[in-house]
């Protein structure tokens, strides 16, 4: 049981997919201008990861080693098609906003990476927990980045106005920098800085 818990808990801080494993950066940067799409993306990735890890782990003894990558890709893309169709049916606006990035969950390296590194060698239940844990660990970073970008970029949180831009009254003005790609890069780099200082693991 402790193995399962460890698989679930590690990805949050100690082995965070974005800050430590450097996986799945593309979508973390692209969908984080607002909290809502970031949250949707996090849920979508968590669902895909949990299920793909479970499936790969169930099939791990049947999958021939030589063609394992194409099999994993097929499993993942089938799951992503499901997620994409569900999003199109129930949350069309958000699915438009996420545009190609729903499809890009297929090549999101976390999903493949965890299937390769964990699910292929471990029983289904820990694999499932590992998938969900990694999905959530990734989602936490996504939501943090989106929080700062939405709050300082347009002064809103979940579409509600929090900070009003009033250059005359108290000199506060929304920063356009947060909305453009640069803002995403800078915020992630700051998160990595805080994270590395917290875990005391430094790269040379």
């Amino acid at each position: 049981m402790s193995d399962t818990m460890k698989a679930f808990k590690d990805p949050f801080v100690i082995n965070n997919p974005i800050a430590v494993q450097v996986l799945g950066i593309c979508s973390a940067l692209a969908v984080t201008t607002q909290i809502k799409p970031a949250f949707t993306m996090a849920v979508a990735v968590t669902a895909v990861m949990g299920l793909s890890n479970l499936t790969v782990s169930l099939l791990r003894k049947q999958i021939p080693n030589k063609i394992r990558i194409i099999i994993e890709l097929t499993i993942i893309s089938t799951l992503v098609i499901l997620v994409d169709q569900i999003l199109k049916a129930y949350a069309y606006d958000i699915s438009r906003q996420l545009s190609v990035f729903v499809g890009l969950i297929i090549t999101n390296c976390i999903v493949m990476g965890r299937a390769e590194a964990y699910a292929l060698h471990n029983p289904p239940i820990p694999a499932l927990m590992d998938g969900i844990g990694n999905g959530l660990g990734y989602g936490v970073i996504l939501v943090i980045v989106a929080f700062f970008r939405e709050l300082f970029g347009v002064g809103k949180l979940l579409g509600k106005e929090i900070l009003t831009s009033s250059p005359d009254a108290w000199g506060y003005k929304h920063s356009g920098l947060m909305v453009v790609p640069t803002g995403a890069f800078v915020i992630i780099s700051l998160i990595v800085w805080v994270h590395h200082n917290y875990t005391k693991k430094f790269e040379d």
Partner: protein, 257 residues
């Protein structure tokens, strides 16, 4: 066409504006040599896969007359677009495998420099992202080919420049926690900011053919320049309706006006 190419290389650069292929971008950019290899491989593959996936999407997936599967079963409205992801990824994986074998046959030298990167590329989001992006924008075939070519080139340029900066950065004194990943992101951010400068490039707008509007009816004379501050443009099958604040037509008078 040139406009599309410039847009794909500079304004909508795959890395700095669309964040495609970030993982391999960060992982393989520690040395200029390897980054050139990786960049060329990506360039090569997008050039091939973008038009190829256009063909797949138009002749196998989208509903309509041209759909070959629809023709086979005599169902012209067969819509297989929900299979887009799985068919693209299969196409890309197959293409990459094929390219690898092809390069190995024709040039051992090229294989030596690109070969190691090719398997990595099947799961690089720049490739799939490029194809999906192309799908989203509704390009024609030549446009899709151009988009693949120039998008890949933009990626190559971005990774080589970044690798050169990272090589230099080894000698600088970076705060402990920022070393490695943190400073890489920050550099990317600064480069993205530099690339934002390209957003200012304005391409000449396609001139609207204003042949009829409620204020004045302009006969089809040889018009030299039309200067329109358009408020609203509505186009139907045979006419263009322009609600404009100001229209200046500069034309040589031919006979009665």
């Amino acid at each position: 066409m040139l406009e599309l190419a410039l847009k794909a290389i500079f304004i909508e650069n795959m890395i700095f504006a669309l964040f495609l292929g970030m993982c391999s971008y960060l992982a393989v950019s520690k040395k200029v040599d390897t980054s050139v290899g990786m960049g060329c491989a990506v360039w090569f593959v997008t050039t091939v896969t973008c038009p190829a996936s256009w063909l797949v999407s138009n002749y196998f997936l989208k509903p309509g007359e041209q759909n070959l599967i629809g023709q086979l079963f005599n169902k012209p409205d067969l819509d297989l677009t929900f299979l887009t992801f799985v068919s693209y990824i299969a196409l890309i994986a197959a293409m990459v495998q094929f390219l690898e074998m092809f390069i190995e046959k024709i040039s051992a030298k090229l294989y030596g420099s690109l070969g190691v990167f090719l398997p990595l590329i099947a799961v690089n989001c720049a490739i799939l992202g490029g194809s999906l992006m192309m799908n989203d924008k509704g390009f024609t075939f030549p446009e899709a080919a151009m988009f693949g070519f120039s998008g890949g080139f933009g990626w190559l340029m971005a990774i080589v420049v970044f690798a050169a900066i990272r090589e230099k950065m080894q000698y600088s004194n970076v705060p402990k926690g920022m070393r490695g990943l943190g400073i890489a992101f920050l550099t990317c951010g600064l480069m993205a900011m530099a690339f934002m400068g390209f957003m200012g490039i304005k391409f000449p707008e396609k001139k609207a053919e204003a042949s009829e509007n409620p204020v004045a009816i302009v006969e089809a004379v040889e018009v030299e320049t039309v200067d329109v501050k358009a408020v609203e443009v509505k186009a139907t099958e045979d006419s263009v309706e322009v609600k404009a604040a100001e229209i200046k037509v500069d034309a040589p008078v031919q006979g009665d006006k």
